[in-house]
Symmetry: C2
Subunit: 218 residues, 2 copies
């Protein structure tokens, strides 16, 4: 009863968390999940274990798994680290990017602009993802690219929310222009600084969002 082998389950759960289908703090019952995906508990447990290792869920011994609670302060910490990693990618990219890297970056930024002008939030989301991934690649440090991609995935759920913030897309696009220019010109420190700011701003914006939300629900 399954072609659902390996990484598929993990991705599915990851996506459900990213999409908000599984809310933070929610219990992840193995039997229920097993039934829902039509597999036994074993592969479910393996998927949960992987998600726990990457920090998306928390497993307490004999007490089951829950979607990881990431409070605002923890989230800020994560964005702080992400900013540093992206800054590093940018710095290395400025030094090491070759023709094909630049081509990919320019193409991604073109898509970003198109989506922005069409007011297509989802489209911008994906184009933005490609843009950043292109920077990771351009760093010419495969390990760094992997780490950055992992972090990116972990922050996905929170990033997604705050793209809806009014005017954010336009600002983001402008920031991309600056970053792209710095990388093209090989200006490592500027590229790093701009990228760091680009990410940190997202964290701060998210902080505002959370504060707002807390106010409304309180």
């Amino acid at each position: 009863m399954s072609g659902k082998r390996g990484f598929v389950l993990r991705d599915a759960l990851e996506n459900d968390i990213a999409m908000g289908l599984l809310k933070a703090g929610e219990r992840l019952d193995e039997a229920t999940l097993a039934q829902r995906f039509g597999v036994s508990r074993t592969p479910i447990r393996e998927a949960l274990l992987q998600l726990a290792t990457t920090g998306l869920v928390e497993i307490r011994p004999h007490r089951g798994a829950v979607v990881a609670q990431v409070g605002p302060s923890r989230l800020m910490e994560m964005f702080e680290v992400m900013a540093e990693l992206e800054g590093m990618c940018g710095r290395l990219a400025a030094r090491r990017a070759d023709g094909s890297d630049i081509t990919a970056l320019v193409a991604a930024q073109r898509d970003c602009r198109a989506a922005a002008e069409a007011d297509d939030a989802d489209g911008y989301y994906y184009a933005n993802e490609r843009f950043h991934h292109a920077i990771y690649q351009a760093s010419r440090n495969g390990f760094l690219a992997e780490q950055a991609t992992l972090m990116h995935r972990r922050l996905k759920p929170y990033r997604r929310l705050q793209l809806r913030v009014r005017g954010r897309i336009r600002t983001s696009l402008a920031e991309h222009d600056g970053i792209l220019a710095a990388i093209e010109q090989g200006d490592a420190e500027v590229a790093s600084t701009l990228l760091k700011a680009h990410i940190i701003i997202q964290g701060e914006r998210f902080g505002d969002l959370v504060a707002n939300l807390a106010e409304h629900t309180a």
Copy 2:
């Protein structure tokens, strides 16, 4: 037949890899490991999965797990990232460290000096570990501290080897002095720069070691 629950197995395997008991590229047979630890395959599989997620072993579908092959170039990439993370820890520590953080740092450095003067390589290894961990803590970014600790663990096997290099301990100790001073004085950029260099040098030294080894075996 077991109080070996949870993280114990993972730690044991991790340690075996770090100690070189399990060589890079070596196959990790589930049945054999199960017998060796006196447990069934299930917890072994869980441990391997976790190690795979952190990158210490590689699992190829239906083809079993092997200790991850880290070539010299890959290793350099990892040290490059580690250097950036440590640099970040240092920068934040210089800004945010409080009295207890400084106390821990000074104590760790005292132990380092004692071990160095006694020519105790193992002792220095552990004191050095405490010193760096103290910096992670002092960054006052819990997430960053976790990430840095994880990276540290991943590089453990390689770090250990190159501490034997002649004169490295003395140099390392001197570098610690500079780093400690910068953090105490709150000089964020100096702390960051010194720490980055401190780590990168290790990567380069290891590069020399590998080159030397390759020469001898070729």
